[in-house]
């Protein structure tokens, strides 16, 4: 088991190299560079050229790539031109904020998805199922940013129930005070993310239940005299929940993507907002570091899914 995981991690190395190369070249191909925006009447083109030379921007791309990777390997992604601070430090702060948001969103996603999936599957074909399917259809087909904007307008600016920006109030003090303030800041976006991104989990669970209900082993369980409630919980539900557990890794990575919109609209200082800001500000060093990080997190999410699957399903052995 540990050997296999190690092997999978080693296999990720070439994937990450290809990914980093791709990101690097893509960033190079984008028009402009960090200094383009700095040209003002006060800075002469020759000064800019000197800055470029100092930053190594005139070297061949592969030299730039190797030095970027070399420094990245030591956790050094350079300086943010926009913020004049080390990229690693900025991402570190923001990642913590995103982590809080992600944890609460995942909890809310599952708190909604599991009962909905179970009800839809158990009462397949009834109005309960139809309503849940309808809700999923709506949540999948509505652009999430529209919902975020409406919600922030209504509950943030209108009713003033929730803050409309930031991650923690400056006036919060004490350990619990800060925690409470943090939760208060993420509660609205988390609920919205939870409401909007559970459809795949609901559908996965529902179809698992619907399929498993018809399996022969369920008939065997009934033929043993096992009461129907137990047949459902121990056989049908348990067998349908295992793939859901394995789907966890994918839910996490999907959520990180989803958080980009939410953070930007709620002005929540997480990685997602940082990413959008870095794209707008042509803050290359931040942007490339974030894309690389998202890529690695996706690979890790998939690995996590495979590991969970092999733990919960005895038929799958990853060796």
């Amino acid at each position: 088991m540990w050997k296999t995981i190690l092997r999978r991690v080693i296999l990720m190395i070439p994937q990450i190299i290809i990914l980093s190369l791709f990101i690097f070249l893509l960033a190079k191909m984008m028009p402009g560079d960090p200094f383009t925006g700095l040209i003002t009447p006060n800075t002469s083109p020759s000064q800019i050229a000197k800055l470029r030379q100092e930053a190594g921007l005139n070297n061949p791309w592969y030299v730039q790539y190797v030095s970027w990777v070399g420094r990245a390997f030591h956790g050094d992604f350079g300086m943010s031109y926009a913020m004049q601070r080390p990229v690693t430090e900025i991402i570190g702060e923001r990642a913590v904020n995103t982590l809080y948001l992600a944890i609460l969103s995942v909890i809310i996603t599952y708190v909604i998805a599991i009962p909905f999936g179970v009800w839809a599957g158990r009462y397949e074909g009834t109005w309960i199922d139809t309503s849940i399917q309808f809700y999923n259809f709506i949540s999948m087909s509505t652009p999430s940013f529209v919902v975020y904007l409406l919600a922030i307008a209504a509950f943030g600016f209108g009713l003033k129930w929730f803050p409309t920006s930031g991650s923690v109030s400056v006036s919060a003090s004490g350990f619990f005070g800060i925690i409470a303030s943090r939760i208060y800041h993420i509660i609205l976006p988390s609920i919205l993310i939870g409401i909007l991104t559970n459809a795949s989990t609901v559908q996965y669970l529902r179809s698992g239940i619907v399929d498993n209900k018809l399996e022969d082993y369920v008939k065997t369980a009934r033929s043993k005299g096992v009461p129907e409630r137990v047949v459902f919980n121990r056989h049908i539900l348990r067998n349908s929940l295992l793939p859901i557990a394995a789907f966890f890794g994918n839910v996490i990575t999907g959520l990180l993507g989803g958080a980009i919109f939410a953070e930007t609209i709620f002005s929540y200082p997480g990685m997602g907002k940082l990413f959008i800001d870095s794209v707008n500000g042509r803050d290359y060093s931040v942007m490339t570091a974030l894309v690389l990080l998202y890529g690695i997190l996706t690979l890790l999410g998939n690995l996590l899914s495979d590991i969970i699957m092999s733990i919960v399903d005895p038929r799958i052995r990853i060796d």
């Binding site: 082993y217 008939k219 065997t220 033929s223 043993k224 005299g225 096992v226 056989h235 067998n239 038929r315």
Partner: protein, 348 residues
């Protein structure tokens, strides 16, 4: 079987209808059967004749939302038709054990073998966990599993088909049920394994004295293991009797075609040589006259009864419709034309 043996199941005028497009169609149409202690009753018939439907009706596993079961299934003064679920759950597994055709899909892939066998004991015995574990090992031993402690901890996919079917049998006999229903227990297995599983079933039956309803479409299996046999066609019984009666004096054209098409050692084609066609689907099933008539079109309409009923030709030997009296196979026609009397004893 000794006819004086205790009556276990008395099925009278059983109908099981499935709803298809808002209409109910009888897949089991007025079936009456009895099963005694120590008896192996074989139920034979082609695919779609309603064998599994009958079995599922006995153990009460049809979904009441789209299935209607009427008639009587008497078990110890208790009518299983319409029995409430709580009571039925006390009977399933405890009084009736069931073995399914495909032992891979019939076992929960995510549960250890030991756990699946023990589940039955949880609901029908007062054994504690330790005692259940011991009983599981004893059962695995009884069904011929070479290493019970190992197998108890394995998952279904780790076992061969034959081993899985042994496990299914262990589940079915866990509470020593007086009735065992085996729905094509050997169809999914290799020929060599088939014989072993049947031997095992016979041994078990001798040990616990159950009555077994053995569903199969293999007449070789019937001849070797069963005491009595009922031949089903299109939801009805067309012939029924002791194995001796039915194999030595087959009467109904369907039985005779089945016997005639029994795969010989030197041929392996499984179709009914003489009789073309298949059992019609549930919705297209003919409900009047002789249901088998379309497959023996050379027989004149006058040879069939308008409302075919079962005739008792000998004590215990029943046959439906009167067409058996004049029935012949087309390739026997020359003999018939040559003036040989057509009679019911061509099988001899």
């Amino acid at each position: 079987m000794d006819t004086s043996d205790e009556l276990l199941l008395d099925i009278q005028h059983l109908h099981t209808a499935f709803r298809v497009h808002d209409h109910f169609y009888d897949a089991v149409d007025d079936i009456s059967l009895t099963l005694h202690k120590n008896e192996i009753l074989a139920l034979v018939g082609e695919s779609g004749s309603g064998k599994s439907t009958l079995a599922t009706s006995i153990i009460g596993l049809h979904n009441p939302r789209n299935t209607k079961v009427t008639g009587d299934i008497m078990y110890n003064e208790l009518n299983l038709v319409g029995l409430n679920e709580a009571l039925f759950n006390r009977i399933r597994g405890n009084d009736i054990g069931m073995i399914f055709q495909d032992p891979l899909s019939a076992l929960n892939p995510l549960m250890r073998i030991g756990e699946q066998i023990a589940e039955s004991l949880v609901y029908h015995t007062k054994l504690n966990e330790k005692e259940r574990e011991a009983r599981v090992l004893q059962l695995l031993e009884q069904v011929g599993i070479p290493d019970p402690p190992l197998t108890a901890h394995q998952y279904p996919h780790e076992l061969s088909g034959g081993m899985r079917q042994r496990v299914m049998i262990a589940i079915a006999i866990a509470c020593k049920p007086p009735i065992i229903i085996a729905d094509e227990p050997t169809t999914a297995l290799d020929v060599t394994i088939q014989a072993q599983i049947l031997d095992l079933l016979e041994d078990i039956q001798k040990e616990i004295g159950s009555g077994i309803l053995l569903i199969t479409h293999d007449l070789g299996v019937v001849a070797e293991t069963a005491d009595t046999v009922a031949v089903m066609y299109s939801g009805q019984i067309v012939e029924q009797g002791s194995v001796y009666q039915v194999f030595e004096h087959p009467l109904h054209p369907y039985t005779r075609s089945l016997l005639r098409s029994m795969p010989q050692a030197d041929s392996d084609d499984e179709e009914l040589h003489v009789i073309q066609g298949t059992v019609p689907s549930l919705v297209n099933m003919q409900r009047t006259g002789d249901r088998f008539a379309p497959r023996i079109p050379w027989m004149p309409a006058s040879s069939h009864e308008e409302h075919p009923v079962l005739h008792e030709v000998e004590p215990g030997h029943l046959v439906r419709c009167t067409c058996y009296k004049t029935f012949y196979f087309p390739d026997e026609k020359e003999a018939a034309a040559a003036g040989a009397p057509q009679n019911a004893n061509e099988g001899e």
